[in-house]
Symmetry: C3
Subunit: 167 residues, 3 copies
């Protein structure tokens, strides 16, 4: 795992009814914080919220606008069930979507397990803050961060206008 040379302030959000109610230990949030730290990011905030569209959106806005983090990774609430609302909450607060990040998570995941395609997670920008949705399963967090780590620091530099080329 390559440590980024650019300064990244990040936040991690676990979306889980059971986690928010204290009925289930949040394993995915700490894994996310761990992966972000190993990537070289400063984890400025961490939160567990229920599968509630308003609460998810509020957490995203608080981290992006008040705490001014560069990067928010969410875990959970990306599936096809009715209570899975993280993509909808995220879409409501971003200005522009970056489809390729969500596609990469799914198609790399698909080679390991076909069920990875069921994640409806998205990625996008709220101003200069990059938000990426990962599924809730701890394994999906680890595999997702492996895919994201080679991409994120460069993406953040491009978002800041420090790097103009890609692909």
């Amino acid at each position: 795992m390559k440590v980024s040379k650019i300064k990244i302030r990040a936040a991690a959000i676990t979306v889980s009814d059971q986690g928010a109610a204290g009925k289930r230990e949040d394993l995915s949030g700490p894994l996310l914080v761990d992966a972000l730290t190993k990537m070289g990011a400063e984890v400025a905030g961490q939160k567990i919220v229920a599968d509630d569209r308003e609460k998810i959106a509020h957490a995203l806005i608080t981290f992006a606008d008040e705490m001014k983090v560069d990067l928010i990774i969410t875990t959970g609430g990306t599936g096809p069930a009715l209570r899975d609302l993280t993509p909808e909450a995220t879409r409501a607060v971003i200005d522009r979507e970056i489809d390729g990040i969500a596609e990469a998570l799914r198609f790399t995941g698909y080679n390991k397990t076909p069920l990875a395609v069921l994640s409806r997670g998205i990625a996008g920008l709220r101003g200069r803050c990059l938000i990426v949705n990962l599924p809730g399963h701890p394994r999906a967090v680890c595999e997702g961060m492996e895919i994201l780590i080679p991409i994120l620091p460069h993406a953040l530099q491009m978002i800041r206008g420090e790097q103009l080329e890609h692909g």
Copy 2:
């Protein structure tokens, strides 16, 4: 081909002007019924409709709301021609899209034939009914169902809330 252990009520819709007018034998519809049966689903309905946005939407709504099927697979009308309207008709009746299913069909297809990327087919939920668009060609139906069969039973369980994890 693995037979699903969960109860699935399914419907198959062939979208084709020529098929609906009785001017061309519908090969893809029976292939779809055959694949669904082999998967262990009960095929509760089958229909051929013209490439007409209203007629496609009406068939989808009837199967989802009145016959209360769990799964509708369509074949045909996904290409880039002006008469290809199945994705538009589907998008008009679903509540939430599951991009990864359509992506998996295309990127797995792309490895066999680059032209698979021209399918504009989508997948999504109307309530708890999962709708997936496949291209019209019989080979695309067979290859598409091969990709879908490892995914669909689990997807339907997640949609019902019986399984909460994925990916």
Copy 3:
């Protein structure tokens, strides 16, 4: 590189503030013209425009509606930076999107460089004119055209209704 047997009138648009201001040599535009010519297309027009949503949209509309080209390829302005507006300008002028073309560019690119996923480029139709966004980097133009050349002639035939099958 296979020469297409169908008649294709094409246009190339370079989207670049620096290119439009004459401050940087446009390397990608000529590479695009070269690849289109090798594919057998007649390049009916070529233009450099600034990263301005209105100007990009105007150039697309002029080539599609007045010059009635079959195909427009753009290069540049697809990244995540605030000045990258080509996907937004393109989405504003097309009638229907063809997600699979943009997905193929990204997932084939991803195997060479993970950063390819950061292109937000789209593809779609304005009437019968197919528009495809490529990233700005000369290498992305070459690699993108390699992916597009086996797809485009068939896509244009399907759009014209000359070929009804795909995938």
